[in-house]
């Protein structure tokens, strides 16, 4: 079956702009004024492709995209992977040229390929598996926060939020303690390099910078998996070592792509959620007090709100495999369909006063881990365990933590990010 992707033209359905660089240079709240209008008046709407001066439409050839803005429609698209494919045209809202980046592992597959990959990983992410490594997560969180007691002025992102996730990814993969720092740094740079041009050393091109980080991740991953073939352990590397597809072992490329997915998906998402939650608790001290009053009883509900409110991943794209009607619009086979989690998580038909940071909302149908279905965040339980461990330490060991400046924001169409956040610990 050959389906032509992204070429179908459609008339614009509104005069709203969510395609320009100017739009994406606004902050989350400003952007949501447009999304709020779309949710109310045109929940599914056709737009010009995302603007990218380096890769104009006459080069990438994409006609545009459908924006899906309501939580319920995001769920519909997510649950129906037969109609909305991850493999066919990738998951990038930003138009790319074919082969520009390697596929992001099983995130860019559909069942049944996706299912085989996901099953290799799933043992490491079940609630019971997460419970087994919880002690390690807590130990790491205690160490990170202890180091900050009495530290004075800190950068929340670098000194606090970014530390735990990459260490835990390394622990889960089975990276040895001596390589954990190298691994974590490469992972951080890979993400940072993609999201933020400022972290690259001067004179180093993006492909070279990314390539170097990928090389480090690949070397560590391939060595580790090969070691686990003779010395099995209780980690993801062992699962990868044991995995066989049609009687053959995973190739080095396949191992690398899993390492890459892990370091991207397991890292920046939790980092950003941590930074935003620290900022929101600083701005809403009543919420901090409410949580501290009964941490064990309230943290589960609080963590759901951390993720909903932060919405660390703004969107993912799908490709329609057939003609389908959604939100009163006729989507055509081959069209790009972008599900805006950032909008779904502010959907006023689901969340009362959606911009309010309210830790007592309880378990809500937010789309912060995705809209459900086969691509729902595999690491959701792990992320919750990390946030629980970290905030327990923050609330008890850093009771006077105070944000001292405005957040320096990261502006792009993929991450809801904070680059720097100044704070004082005592």
């Amino acid at each position: 079956m050959t389906i032509q992707t992204f070429g179908n033209e459609h008339p614009l359905t509104t005069d709203k702009d969510i395609s320009s660089e100017t739009f994406w240079r606004q902050n989350f709240q400003e952007r949501d004024q447009t999304f709020a209008w779309l949710r109310k008046n045109a929940p599914v709407s056709w737009h010009k492709p995302l603007e990218n001066p380096l890769l104009p439409p006459e080069v990438h050839g994409q006609a545009g995209f459908w924006a899906v803005t309501l939580a319920e429609d995001i769920r519909f698209v997510s649950l129906n992977h037969e109609q909305f494919s991850n493999a066919l045209g990738g998951i990038s809202f930003r138009p790319l040229l074919p082969g520009m980046f390697p596929p992001v592992s099983f995130l860019e597959m559909d069942p049944p390929d996706h299912t085989r990959y996901r099953q290799i990983m799933s043992a490491a992410f079940t609630p019971r598996a997460v419970a087994r490594i919880n002690a390690k997560i807590e130990e790491r969180a205690v160490q990170i926060v202890s180091d900050l007691v009495g530290a004075g002025d800190i950068d929340v992102v670098e000194d606090l939020s970014a530390k735990l996730p990459m260490l835990i990814v390394a622990d889960m993969l089975g990276v040895s303690e001596s390589l954990t720092h190298t691994f974590a740094t490469a992972g951080e740079r890979l993400i940072g390099g993609l999201a933020d041009p400022d972290i690259r050393p001067e004179g180093v091109s993006l492909p070279d910078f990314i390539g170097e980080q990928m090389r480090i991740l690949r070397e560590i991953g391939v060595d580790l998996v090969s070691f686990r073939r003779t010395h099995p352990g209780d980690d993801v590397a062992t699962a990868l070592a044991d995995a066989e597809f049609d009687g053959r072992r995973l190739s080095d490329d396949e191992i690398t792509s899993v390492m890459q997915l892990f370091s991207i998906a397991g890292n920046d998402t939790t980092t950003q959620t941590t930074s935003w939650s620290i900022l929101q608790m600083d701005r809403n001290p009543d919420q901090r007090t409410w949580l501290a009053e009964d941490f064990d009883g309230r943290i589960a509900s609080a963590v759901e709100e951390f993720v909903r409110h932060a919405s660390p991943v703004l969107q993912f794209a799908r490709t329609a495999t057939q003609d389908v009607e959604l939100g009163g619009q006729q989507i055509q086979q081959g069209d790009k369909v972008v599900i805006f989690y950032c909008s779904g998580n502010r959907d006023e038909t689901v969340f009362e006063d959606p911009h309010r940071f309210d830790l007592s909302r309880g378990r809500t149908p937010h789309v912060g881990f995705g809209g459900g279905g086969v691509h729902y965040c595999l690491g959701n339980g792990l992320a919750k365990a990390e946030l629980r461990a970290l905030f327990r330490e923050i609330l008890t060991r850093l009771p006077k933590l105070e944000v001292t400046g405005e957040p320096e924001l990261l502006f792009n169409e993929f991450t809801h990010g904070i680059r720097h956040l100044s704070a004082r610990t005592n």
């Binding site: 649950l79 996901r118 099953q119 799933s122 043992a123 992410f125 079940t126 609630p127 019971r128 598996a129 378990r363 881990f369 995705g370 809209g371 459900g372 279905g373 086969v374 729902y376 595999l378 959701n380 339980g381």
Partner: protein, 60 residues
């Protein structure tokens, strides 16, 4: 009430397991195991409602 698992939808995400661990267990292969067969608790109802894959339902 019985819990019905739609195996085509369930991906072993484990929200049910985290809400009602005595009843639901995601095995190491990612397959969901339901312990017992007659349920009448708000906890189980919540687990069914909360499934992000909409793979769970209750049946008399």
């Amino acid at each position: 009430m019985k819990v019905v698992v739609d195996r085509n939808r369930c991906t072993g995400i484990g929200i049910c397991d985290s809400i009602a661990p005595d009843i639901f267990e995601v095995g190491d292969d990612g397959a969901l195991i339901v312990h017992g067969d007659d349920f009448d608790s708000e906890q189980v109802a919540e687990a069914v409602r909360s499934c992000p894959a909409r793979a769970l339902s209750l049946k008399d």
